[in-house]
C-alpha cells in the first residue's frame, strides 16, 4: 500500500509534463487531457510493472505514445482530420491546407503538417528535452532512427514555416540530405 501511494504521488508529479506532451501532440486541449487520462489509467493498471530505477516520465510518455497510436488506429478518421483540422482552423483564408504551399503558416499549423512519425520524436527531443536514447525508448525505435526523424522533421518544419515546400525537391537538395 505504501509503495502504491508513493507511485501515485510520483504519477501526480509528472502530470504537468504529460499534459504538455499531449497538448503538443493533439493540439485540442480536451482531447489532450483525454489522452492524459487514458495514460494515467493505464499506468495505474500496470504500476507494478514499473521499475523504480527507471525514469517515470519516460515510462509514462511511452504509455502515452501507445495510447495515442491506439487512438489513431481506432479512429482512422480522426488521425487524418486531426492535424489537418488544426491547420484548417487557423488557416482562415481558406484553400486546401494540404496543397496551399507558398503561404507562410504558423508554428502549430506547421507542426500539424508533419507526419506523426516525424512530430513525435521532434517534440520529445525539442520540447520534452529527452535524450535520443530516452526518445528511442519511448517510441521503441532505434536511436539512429530518432536521429534521422528529428532531422527530417526539423527540415520539413522549416520548409513549412518558410513557405518553401514546393521548392524542396528542386533547389534545396541540401535540406533533404538526411539518413
Amino acid at each position: 500500500m505504501q509503495a502504491d501511494d508513493v507511485f501515485r504521488n510520483q504519477l501526480l508529479g509528472v502530470i504537468p509534463r504529460l499534459r504538455r506532451y499531449a497538448r503538443s501532440l493533439v493540439f485540442d486541449s480536451p482531447a489532450a487531457d483525454d489522452l492524459v487520462q487514458t495514460t494515467l489509467e493505464r499506468a495505474l493498471a500496470h504500476w507494478h510493472q514499473f521499475d523504480q530505477r527507471r525514469d517515470l516520465l519516460v515510462w509514462v510518455l511511452s504509455i502515452a505514445h501507445n495510447a495515442h497510436l491506439d487512438q489513431r488506429r481506432r479512429d482512422a478518421r480522426l488521425s487524418v482530420v486531426d492535424p489537418e483540422r488544426a491547420s484548417a482552423d487557423q488557416d482562415a483564408q481558406g484553400g486546401d491546407p494540404g496543397v496551399d504551399v507558398g503561404l507562410r503558416i504558423d508554428l502549430v499549423q506547421a507542426l500539424g503538417r508533419l507526419t506523426p512519425e516525424q512530430r513525435e520524436p521532434l517534440l520529445l527531443v525539442s520540447v520534452e528535452q529527452l535524450t535520443y536514447a530516452e526518445c528511442a525508448e519511448v517510441l521503441r525505435i532505434p536511436v539512429g532512427t530518432v536521429m534521422s526523424r528529428v532531422s527530417r522533421a526539423r527540415a520539413r518544419l522549416r520548409q513549412f514555416l518558410d513557405g518553401s515546400e514546393r521548392s524542396a525537391d528542386g533547389g534545396q537538395r541540401g535540406l533533404r540530405r538526411v539518413i
Binding site: 500500500m1 505504501q2 502504491d4 501511494d5 508513493v6 501515485r8 504521488n9 510520483q10 504519477l11 501526480l12 508529479g13 502530470i15 504537468p16 509534463r17 499534459r19 504538455r20 497538448r23 503538443s24 487531457d33 492524459v36 487520462q37 494515467l40 489509467e41 495505474l44 493498471a45 508554428l107 502549430v108 507542426l111 521532434l122 517534440l123 527531443v125 525539442s126 520540447v127 535524450t131 535520443y132 536521429m147 534521422s148 528529428v150 532531422s151 526539423r154 527540415a155 518544419l157 522549416r158 514555416l161 541540401g174 535540406l175 540530405r177 538526411v178 539518413i179
Partner: protein, 271 residues
C-alpha cells in the same frame, strides 16, 4: 572522417541536441564556423526549437485538472479506503466546495478548496517528500547533523546561505524543536522554472516532515491551505516572495501546528 567531409543534416541536428561528443563535436563546431550557410540553417532549427518550447511552456504551470488528479487517486482504492471513495464520489456528483467543506470541518485555518486550483508546484512538493523522506543514507544533500557542534553550525550557515543565493529569496532554517522536530538538512531541487529547496525535519520516532520552498510567481500572500494526497498531508501558503509547502504523513492538526510555527519565525534559529 576528415575535417573536409561535410557533416550531414542528421549529424548537425544531433549536434544541436547535444548528442554529439568529443572530437566529432569539435569537428562540427569548426565546420559551422567555416560554413556560415550551414551555421545559419542550424540557428534556424535552434530558433524553431525555442519557439516550440515557448509555445507549450504555459501548460506546465497550469493547475492539474481535478479529473486527472482523481484519475490518479481513484483507481483500485475501493476496498482500501471507503471514506475516500465516498468523498471522491461526492465531489463528482455534487460539486467541489460543498462536499469538501463538509468533509474537512473545523480548524482555525481555512481549508484549501482541495481540488481544482491546487497550484502545480505543490504537487512537486509532495513528490519531493515522497522521493526523499524514505531515504536512510542520503535524505538530504547538505546535512546539519554530522560532526561536532561547531561543524553543525557551520553547515547550517552554509545551507541557509547557499539556498538563499540559489532561490533568490531568504531561506531560513526554521527551528521546530519546540514541536519535537530536529532539522536534518536540506537540498536544492528543480521547480518548473528554476530552483526550489527542501528542508527535512525528523522527530524522535524518526518520522519526517519536509518544507518545500520556492520563489513565488508574484509577490502576494496567500492563506494556509490544506490538501491531502493518499497518506500525505500538506499545508501550503505564500508569504511575500516565497511559497511554502509543509508535507508529511502526520495528522492534519500536527501539520498545522508545525506550519504555524514556521510561519511565526522571522529569525533563523540561533544555536
Amino acid at each position: 572522417m576528415s575535417n573536409e567531409e561535410r557533416p550531414d543534416d542528421a549529424l548537425l541536428s544531433a549536434w544541436l541536441d547535444g548528442e554529439v561528443e568529443g572530437s566529432e563535436c569539435a569537428r562540427i563546431q569548426a565546420w559551422l564556423q567555416a560554413h556560415p550557410e550551414d551555421a545559419a540553417r542550424v540557428r534556424l532549427w535552434s530558433a524553431d526549437r525555442d519557439a516550440l518550447r515557448a509555445r507549450f511552456a504555459a501548460t506546465l504551470d497550469e493547475p492539474v485538472p481535478e479529473r486527472l488528479a482523481q484519475a490518479v487517486w481513484r483507481r483500485g482504492r475501493v476496498a482500501a479506503s471507503g471514506p475516500w471513495l465516498q468523498a471522491v464520489a461526492a465531489v463528482v456528483l455534487l460539486g467541489v466546495g460543498v462536499a469538501i467543506g463538509a468533509w474537512w470541518r473545523g480548524g482555525a485555518v481555512r481549508d484549501a478548496q482541495q481540488t481544482a486550483g491546487v497550484p502545480a508546484w505543490t504537487q512537486r512538493a509532495v513528490v519531493a517528500h515522497a522521493v526523499y523522506s524514505p531515504e536512510e543514507r542520503h535524505p538530504v544533500e547538505v546535512s546539519v547533523r554530522e560532526g561536532d557542534a561547531a561543524r553543525q553550525r557551520e553547515q547550517e550557515q552554509h545551507l541557509s546561505r547557499w539556498l538563499t543565493r540559489r532561490l533568490s529569496v531568504p531561506v531560513k532554517l526554521f527551528d521546530l524543536r519546540s514541536e519535537g522536530f530536529e532539522l536534518v538538512g536540506g537540498r536544492l531541487l528543480p521547480d518548473a522554472n528554476g530552483p526550489s529547496a527542501q528542508l527535512m525535519y525528523q522527530d524522535a520516532m524518526g518520522q519526517r516532515v519536509t518544507v518545500y520552498l520556492r520563489k513565488a510567481d508574484r509577490e502576494a500572500s496567500a492563506a494556509f491551505r490544506y490538501d491531502r494526497k493518499g497518506d500525505l498531508g500538506m499545508f501550503y501558503w505564500v508569504e511575500g516572495l516565497c511559497g511554502y509547502a509543509l508535507v508529511g504523513p502526520q495528522p492534519r492538526e500536527r501539520l498545522l501546528a508545525l506550519a504555524e510555527a514556521i510561519a511565526k519565525q522571522d529569525q533563523p534559529p540561533s544555536r
